[in-house]
Amino acid sequence: MPEDGETGRPLAPQELSDSFPSMSAAVLVVDDEPHIRRALRNALAGDFQRVLEAASAQEAVDLAAAHRPDIVILDLGLPDRPGQWVCAELRKWSSVPIIVLSAHHGESEKIRLLDEGADDYVTKPFSPAELLARVRAQLRRAHTAEPDGAGASVTIGDLVIDPGARTVRKSGEDVHLTPTEWELLRAFLRHAGKTLTHRQLFQAVWATSSGDPQQYLRVYVANLRRKLEPDAVRPALIITEPGVGYRFETGA
């Protein structure tokens, strides 16, 4: 059984590249459906040394506390308690990435979970490949030192973003961003790979101020996209999660 210290070790960047070859220690799968657990176990077995399984909310919290998994995959339709409870319990002591599995297509539930501290969600029925991609993205994010928005410059494709100097270069040319667009980009960089709800973005960009500018959040995002993305209607950087929010993709 690997030590906790070992699982928390930040991986060097080359280990994180493309096919994600290095095995993470443990994943916790929480679902009351044995068939789904089995399918996920098989899908995840290639990436993890151990796949822990829980069939109830209480079991999930107990297992997480005992084994400190690297990532949690959490179904919302648990028999004993709502998924939000598991989320809240885990967030009391852990920042482990949580990916929520939701069978409902309602957006409000996903928003609530993300605001509660979940990092991403997948809607049932999902393909294992889709889930695996999300899992890898979350692990990559968790293992990368979070940029504080004022640190070293970031290179994504032909974009070079220097938060310290507040400059963005696209294919070597300077891109002019408005102050709000800068705040938005900083928020995205700070939480790269995480699905941010509209509310979380409001708070990150406008902090405590409220009112007029907030209703234009989506327009600010569209403007930022037009400045940064090669094709604004086929975005690769700022991904829309319909009805929920946005996700900033740096790994693609």
């Binding site: 789904i36 098989n42 899908a43 069978a103 999902f126 294992p128 209703q215 989506r218 037009r226 829309t240």
Partner: protein, 361 residues
Amino acid sequence: MTRSSRLVAGLVLWVVIAAVATFVLWTFRGSLDEAHFALAYLLVVLGASAREGRVVGLVLAVLCFVLFNFFLLPPYYSLAIEDTLAWWVLVAFLVTGTVAAELLYRAQRAVALAEQRAVEIERLAEEARHVEALREADRLKDAMLASVSHDLRTPLTSIRATAAEIRAEGNESAAIIEEEAERLNRFVTDLLDLSRIRADALPTEAEINAADDLIGAALERVRALPGAELIDVRLPADPSVPVGRFDFVQALRALGNLLENALRHSPAGTPVELEVFRSGGALVFEVRDRGPGVPREHRERLFEPFQTGSPRGGAGGTGLGLAIARGAARAQGGDVEYRPREGGGSVFALRLPAADVPGLS
């Protein structure tokens, strides 16, 4: 029997009764005094009022007054009166009879009103019970829909995941299971949407949204369909982002369905066009294809659900896409319209409320 003929029949009956009463009283007039006559006539007047209503009651009061005077008060067979006291009795009788008839009428009307109110209250209570039952049915339906969607998606997830696993082991047939599971899932989603549209229960939340964003999300939704990579997106030449005030999720459902529909009916290799422009107070998204178009006789029913018999259904769709697209648009003050495309094919226009945004810093 009509109301007036019933009145006449009642009047005749009570006139006869009054005549009989007069004859009886006349026979015994030697052993009776004025007070007895007055009481007897009063009974007749009250009876007439009670049975036939105010009008007959009043007529009977006057008639009895005359009969009383003519046959029973001396001098007999004349309307003259010799005794002052008898005259007073007669007047008192007329007043009492009239007032009694009136009072009886009012009492009866009050009773009738009360009865009518009781019926009304009973009807309202019944209606309230009905509304409550409907509400309960609605709640049940929502709960059932949520439960059906959950209960269907859970096994679908198992089926899909297991099929993916089998495919990963090298069995390509498992891809069919995956595809069909996905189709079943789309069908469940469409049925849920349609039932919400039918119940006017589509949740909408109008926000300021950018056209780029909606188009991007719709392209992402249809990405896996053949021809999706060819979709030709045309934005206005104006460098500012076109903006509308609409519910993003519902608008996405509408535009996604229109794109999917266009892709399914486009000949291979022919790009589907998607153009966005502002038209007055509307933000218009036009989806144009070079498919077979829609014959005139099918156009009217194009947006009705399950039109798989028409050239627009089938082809892997659920037959609900256009009905949902229009429902999702109309739920937020927009619409979806069809027109034939010049040079062959179809144009589906999604109109959503446009919005104006000040310069943003």
